[in-house]
């Protein structure tokens, strides 16, 4: 049976070097995805992800298990994302590097997909990215945590430090903005 996060944390604090590595392997993708969807830049998301684990490793002896390890990790990552957004003072927009052709890239990854599907998917992705970029940070964070990480309302509330009803309101407002923007974009496309 695999170790739980909390057991791995305990072992890591006890000096087992492999345990923290196991935690990294387990959580690197979700943390990277969270960072990417929050700040929207692949390289920076990778940096944030790496920094998250560095900080977690340093702070591990102080982790007393009041919260779940994943929540603790998410909090570190979100704080780093927030710092990044403030430092950069710009709205996160997901943009591929100039020399990267998304179609080619996607085609290479999924050769079975038809070019029409590929283009449609790419368009949709771009629309979603743009719409997400319009959201205020707290609404975007709430949506990302709920939609892509499956956190409960309570977990999000604990994580971002706000009342549960505020989380719901942020989600509602965020989704409403997204609905409007996506509808507008789709209409403009036609």
């Amino acid at each position: 049976m695999p170790w739980t996060d909390e057991e791995l944390v305990a072992k890591s604090i006890g000096g087992d070097p492999d345990s923290f590595n196991e935690l990294v392997l387990r959580w690197e993708r979700p943390i990277y995805a969270l960072a990417y969807r929050t700040i929207g830049r692949e390289e920076d998301a990778r940096d944030v992800c790496q920094e998250t684990f560095l900080r977690a490793f340093r702070a591990l002896p102080g982790f007393r298990g009041q919260a779940k390890f994943s929540s603790w990790l998410y909090r570190i990552a979100l704080n780093l994302c927030r710092d990044w957004v403030r430092r950069e003072r710009r709205t996160p927009v997901v943009q591929p590097p100039e020399d990267v052709d998304l179609i080619e890239m996607a085609a290479a990854a999924e050769p079975s997909e038809s070019i029409e599907d590929l283009v449609a998917r790419k368009d949709l992705t771009r629309l979603v990215e743009r719409a997400m970029a319009l959201l205020p940070e707290e609404q975007r964070t709430a949506i990302v945590l709920k939609e892509y990480h499956g956190l409960t309302f309570q977990e999000i509330a604990d994580l971002v430090g706000c009342p549960l009803s505020t989380v719901k309101t942020r989600l509602y407002q965020g989704l409403t903005v997204l609905r409007r923007e996506l509808a507008r974009s789709n209409k403009a496309k036609l």
């Binding site: 590595n21 392997l25 969807r37 990778r46 684990f53 979603v128």
Partner: protein, 272 residues
Amino acid sequence: MTDSFCGYQGDRDEALIAYLYDDGGDARERVLFEGHLMTCVRCRDELAALGDVRTQLARWAPPEPAFAVGNGNPQSAIRNPQFERWRQIPAWAQVAAALLFLGVSAGIANLDVRYDTNGLSVRTGWMTPASGDTRFGGPAPSDVALAPNDVAQSGTISAPWRADLAALERQLNSDLRAMKAATTQASPVRGSSTTDAEVMRRVRALLDESEKRQQRELALRVAEVMRDVTAQRRADLVNIDRTLGVVQNNLGVEVMKDRQRLNLLYRASQRQ
């Protein structure tokens, strides 16, 4: 439709979101809102629209990270599945692989690269002198590249790195012999000598094959390096030429200014 009146008692937005995500909450409130949905077109429409938004959001996937985050973590020795597989390989195969690696290393260590009037030649200490496929643009340099034993034993080694290479070769050869001896000693315990001979024959074949491959790759790389060097040299020459031109121009301007100043002085002195 969406402008129709909604008479829900309570926080409609929160109830809508709680229903949309089906996230715990009060079961009684959920039932209540479900009842409300039966009668409220506005809420039903909005719920459907928000569901659509969620469907679209689900298609947004971040690009695959092109790195293992673990490489940067404080304990760089992350367990790698490849290493796990490596541990499952039988001991004799690991010995064979080690021998292969040592052989390749020895071949590389005895590498002799020359570029002279005869052209470029590349050979390793394992080879007979200068085979055709390692050469570029010149006849076979029969007189180049000391044989490995020459390198090891010659007292007239001129370049200091040759001594290092000879020492390395000796070391590798002794390691190789030790490993071979160990394999030979270990083999009677495990199986017949015929099997060991077979294994050794395969290892040797692998070594030969690997050496040839290395040789080809090396030749290719050297050719690439030579091409790059030539291109860079040309670019440097063009730059130097351009810079010289600029310097000359500047010099000419300075000379002209000096001449003007001299003329000015000359005229001034004549007036006095």
